[in-house]
């Protein structure tokens, strides 16, 4: 090994430029799989060359140039092997040699938005959208995606192969939807990013409550979206929301890995820079669209918590109003539950319990620990210890995450003491 960059450093550079390079190649080649192969070839070459030459001054230009040359090589080999496709491969080769997208390697045009919308096309199911976005836009390896999604490498690899085949066979275009089509297509893109974030932020199963690198990846994708669509309120809202939630990660788990609720968190551990950025994005999201969409409202909710110097100083009335607004644009029993908790904080536990009673029959909440945990907490605050203990027992039985189960068991023990 010389003094050049290590494999880790090369991987990091590639990951940050991967989506941009795949997007350009896909634009010219008309196929994301071929583009991915070409960029992967360039990566293999970088792993051989960069340890000696060092990372080039303009890594994006280097990657695109090498990927383009590798794609031309591949097409020539293919042409020699398959005469029937000679005309197709000849035309593709010509585009690779002459396309104006390659005019300057100093300023690579950003075609990632098309790629993102294609990865999140409604013709693909949500799991395929998530895997494809992490692979092609995020530049994650199959094993990294498998770890992020708590899935097997085989399952992720198969999902990717199937999705890419469908994009090719069904001729899904690389385009940014316009007009009436944009809002629902953008919602799918944002849902994919937020799903990745939540996989990292609150793992739905398994021992680790937080997986920072996965949540960090979602934040990175969110930043790309805001950069590419600066006037989209919901993109700004989603990034603001993620930044403010992510800012609390140090305070959210104790040294032993157990969950620390917002109420008990040491607010000194919050990342104030990320919160400042999140609040600015939330203000921007609220300016860009009236009435605001669901992500902007959720960001505003996160901002109310972020701005409170202590739990007791939280503006509960403001929160209850925001949950009401959120319920109007995106109705859900979970939102109602959160509103009940805010009302209980503002007006006392009895008011909150009355609201929770109305959610009793919700099928969405029936199998979740959330309603029972909230109910248990309000009963405890009302001094109704026996009823609180019963509710905590049900909640413990329904919790799926080890850290949440441990927290609820602890509360149960305190209540029955």
């Amino acid at each position: 090994m010389t003094g050049g960059p290590a494999a880790d450093a090369i991987a990091a550079v590639f990951r940050s430029e991967f989506g941009r390079a795949v997007a350009i190649l896909a634009r010219v080649l008309g196929d994301v799989s071929d583009a991915e192969d070409a960029v992967q070839d360039a990566y293999a070459q970088a792993l051989r060359r960069w340890p000696e030459t060092g990372v080039p001054d303009n890594p994006a230009g280097w990657i695109v140039t090498v990927a383009r040359n590798r794609a031309i090589d591949r097409l020539r080999r293919e042409r020699a092997l398959d005469e029937r496709r000679a005309e197709l491969t000849r035309r593709a080769t010509e585009r690779l040699m002459t396309d104006p997208l390659f005019d300057s390697t100093d300023e690579i045009p950003d075609e990632r938005l098309r790629l993102i919308f294609t990865c999140c096309h409604p013709a693909l199911n949500r799991e395929a959208q998530v895997a494809l976005t992490l692979r092609l836009v995020g530049g994650l390896e199959v094993r990294e995606i498998a770890r992020a999604l708590l899935s097997s490498e085989d399952a992720v690899a198969q999902r990717l192969v199937r999705a890419k085949r469908k994009l090719r066979v069904a001729a899904v275009p690389l385009r940014v939807p316009a007009g009436d089509e944009l809002p629902s297509r953008l919602a799918a893109v944002l849902a994919v990013v937020y799903l990745v974030f939540n996989e990292g932020y609150a793992a739905t199963s398994g021992p680790d409550l937080l997986r920072d690198d996965v949540a960090g990846e979602a934040v990175r994708l969110g930043k790309v979206l805001v950069e590419l669509m600066p006037d989209e309120s919901e993109a700004a809202g989603l990034l603001g929301l993620m930044l403010m939630q992510h800012a609390r990660r140090q305070a959210r788990t104790a040294a032993d890995g157990s969950l620390v609720l917002l109420e008990q968190q040491d607010r000194g551990l919050w990342d104030t820079a990320a919160i400042g950025e999140g609040i600015a994005l939330t203000e921007r999201a609220l300016r860009l669209r009236r009435p605001p969409g669901p992500y902007a409202i959720e960001a505003a909710i996160a901002a109310v918590h972020a701005e409170a110097p202590a739990w007791d100083d939280t503006d509960w009335r403001q929160l209850a109003a925001l949950y009401r607004e959120l319920h109007a644009v995106s109705p859900s029993p979970v939102v109602e539950l959160n509103r009940a908790v805010a009302v209980a904080m503002a007006d006392g536990p009895a008011a909150g319990l009355a609201m929770l009673d109305r959610l009793e029959d919700s099928p969405e909440l029936a199998s979740s620990h959330l309603l029972h945990a909230a109910r248990a907490d309000l009963l405890r605050r009302s001094g109704r210890a026996d009823e609180a203990a019963d509710a905590y027992r049900v909640a413990v039985g329904l919790a799926t995450n080890d850290a949440e189960r441990a927290f609820l068991s602890g509360r149960l023990a305190e209540t029955t003491r």
Binding site: N125, A170, A171, V172, P173, P177
Partner: protein, 119 residues
């Protein structure tokens, strides 16, 4: 009057065949297709790509719902088909969403295999 002839086979039937059986089946299809063509009654007909390449569109209250995959509800069976030639899936989905049946049923959009001419 025209008729559409839908061919249903168990998944994996084609893949389960030997090379020889496939060739003989293809021969039978070519012969059958030729017979329709010679009789002057063939208007449109082609094998479809496998069901994992399908996309389903519904329109409810004027809003389009697009989902991955076939509409796998046993009560609904294929009721008719159009073959259109457009460049991309998005255009095909736009046309599919305008079919009246999309408002109460579903339209499955599937790419058609281009069968090479018999050598």
């Amino acid at each position: 009057m025209r008729y559409m002839l839908m061919i249903y086979t168990a998944p994996g039937t084609w893949e389960g065949m030997s090379e020889e059986e496939r060739n003989s089946t293809m021969g039978e299809y070519y012969d059958y297709t030729d017979s329709l063509e010679n009789a002057g009654i063939l208007r449109a007909g082609a094998p479809l790509e496998s069901v994992d390449t399908a996309t389903t569109v519904r329109v409810r209250d004027g809003e389009r719902l697009t989902t991955d995959g076939p509409f796998a509800e046993t009560r609904e069976v294929l009721g008719g088909y159009y073959v259109i030639e457009v460049d991309t899936l998005d255009e095909a989905l736009d046309h599919a969403a305008r079919i009246p049946g999309a408002r109460h049923g579903s339209v499955e959009v599937r790419p058609v295999v281009q069968v090479p001419a018999r050598q």
